[in-house]
Subunit: 509 residues, 2 copies
């Protein structure tokens, strides 16, 4: 058992990340916002921490006493600080609500269990008492994945897994590590790096997101071309459910029935709580190096990515911005960023070779996006992202459809896109949108998002490549898997969580 | 739409494969059987085709008329020939029963539907009339995967998918092909090769097994190191179930909930009938070349395989026989067979390089094993295979445990093994066992198999790496996924097949 030394700075309650890393806006950017998007500074100040309106806590003294007896009194928190910090995730809508002082989705209590056994007991008590349980890792969901639907329940508790933060064991022969779900990205890397190992999983949420969340939401990191998605790394899982434990993964692959690991992966806390994972690890590379190219168009760049994927010579990181995203970054054409760890990086006749610098700059700022979003929101802009994926032949249509839908709905908006996850048969599209907040930013974005989701559905894309379903994508998800898929999902839910206490309102249509 | 030109020779009813390819036994082998194993030639002749005892057909005239109206009268077969040829699969026990004239597991009728729509209608009628339906591809299961449990049902029909044998479309940009499930291995390759493409999926059952079966049973082919398992190739699936259709796979990968494709893969016909598949294809390589090495021990050879897997420089085919299997093949030490398609094959300091010849010999005989089994059974031996997988660090213990269990149960027996599917974190073990049939070969093998399954469970292996669960592994499968896994599987089954008509007795514990 090893524990990380790096402490985690508490996340900014009303925005993203480490408050010490907050950024300001360049005057030039402010000017661009005004001129290009008609952004006007918000009138009035955002709510302060003390202004947040929390609902009256609902848990009965009996339930609280039961929970205290399981996890220890000091690990049941009902103070405003704990409740506010476990209210919703980190979508732009989530942040806007907090800035308005809307704490209506706060849990009644935050539990900090210390073991699988305690979690199993909490699920037992909460099932008996009809208390909703929101498994809570880094709280970084951007799709409403930790926003409880209070409904019929006798209260809502957030089950914060931060105390499950151990590297349990390393099997260097099998290149497997047993890790606990509450470890944040940097903590897991620190522990593994100590053994000369790495997960190689670096999503933008890496600083705060947890291993359990990566698994539960099918995360995909920036080095997915070389290391695979997080679900490719999950070899074994221990899951506590209201009806008992699941222990999955005796071999890398098996023909013993359907692969039930793939039911837990992507289950977003609705089927159970992941309490331990056996993850495939790799040797820490000697160096992580960078390279960059400029392509004349998004299509030409995508064709080059496709060739690499289909010839199976992908570097670790492969990422291509469209013309707009490249322009916003100060360039022209379409910028491709390559991260590689061995040998030579790929070369592209007909494209312009930039060398390492633009890619290194990208790599330095790779976790900065959400900090910048806070500054943009403060300046009166709405900035949000959404992503999808489909097969290569369908990508041009999907790209155009989503872009058009967003632009048509929002009017003055910057819609930019990149491809950052590629496969032999297809790729993801990741859109970033900036527009003026307007009088009702929540309604304005919701309307645009509905149009974007419709466009994704009509163009045959999946509703999410790596953000997940949460509450925000539930309707689109139901359409994607169809009525028979919905029937199956409900049946699984009912079998594992008969009372429906786990993350109610999330995932299950 | 393209249809294969290669006709399929009807499979030998009482044994394996194309009757024209039957082999005899070398006198030297006969001598070895007698001397090493105490095999004595069987007394009496095996049952002839006309001797097979079939149960009286149970389907009511009403059901038969309904089924004829759906698929056409000529596609509802109730003759002895059709019934016998759809009785059970091709495990050694299955063959022994047929040789005894035991046709008790025959279906009442064999249906040959021509479309997804017809299959959906058949499922509807059979649900209403409580008729069991056994989805039937090549009929090559070696775990009882097509052996109906008649029980409570008003009859049993085999749903033979051979008429669904089209290459529907090819998307060369996405490297995807839509193929129907009734295509046999060689037919699918013939159609794809015509476009310069290949699946690269070559299991030993390849001559007769179908694409639908590969998916439903999570097949893994001899070139899995280079091409992945069959489940890695399945990008999209259309499934007819008693409650409606499932249409899965909008993108290579998605974060839209659990990956429901992985519920259909490995579902062995118990959840629905796969009626179409979008499969990842690759360019047909210019050449497929071979190489071979001799390692001083199984462990040293496995370590070399592990290094290739963990360094991600696997050739297309990688296979290592243990000392016994190498000796039975006429060699010494441990033979490693390598198939490669580009560049240079890996080299191994400290091992003996044989060059291509032994590997080419293996490749020529790669589909011959089951033909040889027929000859051995005819000579009075019992020959069977079983396979498992686990992580690299657990392989030595798993190998010893299974070998010991089989030897302890059978007494005089040859137990040999190879590793033929490797991953970064682990590998498969494939055992072949030869022993004297004895007075009651079925009971003798069943007893040994139970001991082997126990050993696999205790040593932490999966009950099957690529043969599947069927009826034979049901108990071990239940132990592997545990009571909560069983609960989930039963819930899924109930949601998709409420009356339980699909492949009753198979898979679901």
């Amino acid at each position: 058992m090893e524990t990380p030394r790096t402490p985690v700075q508490p996340m900014l309650w009303s925005g993203w990340g480490d408050p010490g890393k907050a950024v300001g806006l360049d005057p030039a950017v402010r000017e661009l916002l005004t001129e290009a998007l008609g952004v006007t500074p918000p009138t009035g100040e955002p709510a302060g921490f003390g202004d947040v309106r929390l609902p009256a806590a609902e848990l009965s003294p009996f339930v609280l006493a039961s929970l205290r007896s399981i996890v220890g009194a000091e690990h049941v928190r009902t103070d405003a600080d704990a409740r506010i910090r476990h209210t919703r995730g980190k979508s732009t809508s989530d942040l806007l609500k907090m800035r308005m002082g809307d704490g209506s989705d706060a849990p009644d209590a935050v539990l900090l269990p210390g073991s699988h056994h305690e979690i199993a007991e909490v699920l037992r008590v909460c099932t008996a008492e009809k208390v909703a349980v929101v498994p809570f890792g880094g709280g970084t969901s951007v799709v409403g994945g930790v926003t409880a639907q209070r409904d019929v329940f006798a209260g809502v508790v957030a089950l914060d897994l931060r105390r499950l933060d151990k590297l349990v064991s390393v099997d260097e022969e099998s290149m497997l590590a047993e890790l606990q779900p509450g470890l944040r990205g940097p903590q897991a890397e620190e522990l593994l790096n100590g053994h000369g190992l790495t997960l190689g999983h670096f999503p933008q949420s890496w600083e705060y997101a947890t291993l359990g969340g990566f698994a539960a939401a099918r995360s995909s990191g920036q080095a997915s071309a070389g290391y695979g998605r997080f679900d490719d790394m999950v070899e074994g899982l221990t899951v506590a459910t209201p009806v008992g434990d699941l222990e999955l993964g005796r071999a890398p692959r098996s023909a013993a029935g359907p692969d039930l690991r793939h039911l837990v992966l992507g289950s977003e806390g609705a089927f159970g709580v992941i309490t331990s994972m056996r993850l495939r690890v790799r040797r820490l590379p000697a160096r992580r190096r960078w390279d960059a190219w400029r392509f004349p168009s998004f299509q030409v760049g995508r064709d080059a990515m496709r060739a690499l994927a289909q010839e199976r010579r992908l570097p670790a990181v492969l990422r291509l911005s469209d013309e707009t995203e490249t322009m916003i970054g100060g360039g022209s054409g379409c910028l491709m960023v390559i991260g590689y760890e061995q040998g030579e990086p790929p070369t592209f006749p007909g494209a312009d070779h930039f060398g390492a610098e633009p890619a290194e700059r990208w790599a330095e700022g790779r976790y900065a996006g959400p900090y910048l979003r806070d500054a943009l929101i403060a300046a009166g802009a709405t900035v949000e992202t959404l992503e999808t994926a489909t097969h290569w032949s369908g990508l041009p249509r999907l790209y155009e459809a989503v872009k058009l839908a967003l632009e048509a709905s929002l009017g003055r908006a910057i819609v930019m896109c990149h491809v950052s996850h590629v496969y032999e048969t297809g790729a993801s599209l990741y859109f970033t949108v900036a527009t003026a907040a307007g009088d009702d930013p929540l309604a304005r974005w919701d309307a645009a998002k509905i149009k974007a989701n419709e466009a994704i559905g009509l163009a045959g894309g999946t509703i999410s490549h790596h953000h997940g379903v949460g509450r925000d994508h539930r309707a689109a998800y139901a359409a994607e898997i169809g009525p028979v898929g919905v029937t199956v999902m409900r049946a699984i839910k009912k079998s594992l969580d008969p009372v429906g206490i786990l993350n109610p309102g999330v995932l299950i249509p």
